[in-house]
Symmetry: D3
Subunit: 131 residues, 6 copies
């Protein structure tokens, strides 16, 4: 259960409905996932966050599928189950193959391991990395 | 200061020196960074971890530069300063442009934000993501 | 499922029952939530932790509702689902309005974002903050 | 050392200078801290993030000093040293007394403790919190 | 639901079945838990990770039960519910008593508290610890 | 730099000095490390936290050195540099050998890896672990 209401279409203000409409149009789907319905309890926050997602996660100099992989990586390290599910779905929708997914798991696992090792051994940053 | 000794070449066992040599050859550089010198206090761990890094971070179905970006993402969320420095250097060495670096920052920042929002609002995972 | 037993009233020692009684009296409710039933597997730990909660979360120079907001913030960043649920309920019981809750979400989300950005960019602390 | 350049005034574009000017004016100080100089490597990100900070951290239904306390709490749990320093300074500037700071430490420490306990014991969320 | 398939015996390749067989033999049980079935989507990763677990978690200079306690501690701080469940079960199977479990909870809770306090107060490392 | 004052002996109240004295006596050393000097800004918090550390970290059913290892593990996953330094020193003082330290690194690194893998793959908890 969420700690906030999940706003259904019939309870949504025109401002919220407009964002939902843009999400649908941008993604080419009728589906509005729960994150947006939860955020809709604060229409301004919903609008700004959607704008940030929309402008960040598509276009630019990094491939859209790669962006989703990075998102999965951060969400994993932050332990956000919902985010892992939704961005894994997004990465697959943008073409991530099973082989790439498996490789992503290897990198994320390895990074988790060396992150802990470096912290536990308190390895000092090499001068060359600070130049 | 590290909580373990940083093994210098003159104090390294032949087993450690062999790993160092392979790192140098693989990377085309004489430089051995502190992470490996710290791990060298446990030669078997050094050897296995180097083997894991070597086989994971190059080749396969994900671009080498992208792998470094994912590594930066995990290391940031885990708060590993050393790892952020070393893998940012590696990503740049593998061709990450300033524009791509800036975009990576946007994605990592945004993911950090929505991870917290989803956790704080305890958004339930949509059925469709579980299919 | 918990990794420890949840102690029910009929299985509780007099020492545990005394803490439960004080929780009920302090909170003006008959309800003992699962955290206390789990901790009750170690009566001394139960007693000390309850004492710490009781003396920390009420009175003093910070408003009780604000204390719950801070608790939500820490629990979110630490990814403790139970804690987010229970302290959101407590904050609401102490008067947190929907508007304040929405604003809290904005701050927590924003802090999560800039925390990641600062870590990813390894921003050095300004001299003035160290004075 | 940051992983990005810290943009000094003389190297800043007009767009960046305009944000710096608004920061100075809003805060009533000439000082621009390193976070903004690092973000200035991406002027659009700088502008949007400053706008988000400015609109979130002042006004509304939560006291400005309380907002900074929440920020300290999130930053502590996320282990962002820079953020802890800068927002502790901000909280003090907005009136946080030593007594309140000490109390904040107690809450943050206690939350960190119970977060771990709840996770380690995997306490199931009470039905009443899900209603 | 997992974001990868859980490989059942009938769908497993000979390479995967060989690892499953070694897990069963090493542990003296017929049961293969979901972690291995998920990893089996990448047989090389499965094999290497099992080898790492097998060689790390048994034998050597630290008692096997103590190793599981350390694993619980890391998994708690990283918020990995599955890992807490499986390694608590393993620790109990290796002899951890209820009293030891309760004491482990105290240490993990206390460490979580002082970790936050140290971070929030940004306590500088004493010279003597760096020697 | 700490965000609170580090209380020196000459500035300490009798209440603080009494705790310092007990720390010295208990540990058989004249040295008071910075954590206690920082906490001394809140004498009641100092006293309670010292009491908690003293009663938790010595005696009972888990070996004192093992307790320090668990503390290192939690502190690593939480990214508390100070805590890693101080508890590694404590573990060594209580007899942790270099071999045991190296093995601890392996376990912590491995746990960090599998924690991430489990989160990234969202492995469902096996029924048997919930029994």
């Amino acid at each position: 259960m969420a700690t906030v209401k999940l706003i259904q279409n019939k309870d949504a203000s025109p401002e919220v409905l407009a964002v939902f409409e843009d999400i649908r149009k941008t993604r080419g789907t009728d589906f509005i996932n729960n994150f947006w319905r939860a955020l809709a309890t604060d229409p301004v926050h919903l609008k700004n966050t959607w704008h940030e997602i929309k402008s960040t996660m598509s276009g630019g100099s990094i491939d859209d599928m790669v962006k989703e992989m990075v998102y999965i990586a951060v969400s994993t390290a932050n332990g956000c189950s919902y985010c892992i599910h939704s961005h894994t779905a997004a990465a697959k929708a943008k073409g991530m193959t099973d082989e790439q997914h498996a490789e992503l798991m290897r990198i994320i696992g390895l990074a988790g391991k060396t992150n802990q090792l470096v912290n536990a051994m308190q390895v000092p940053v090499d001068e060359v990395f600070l130049a």
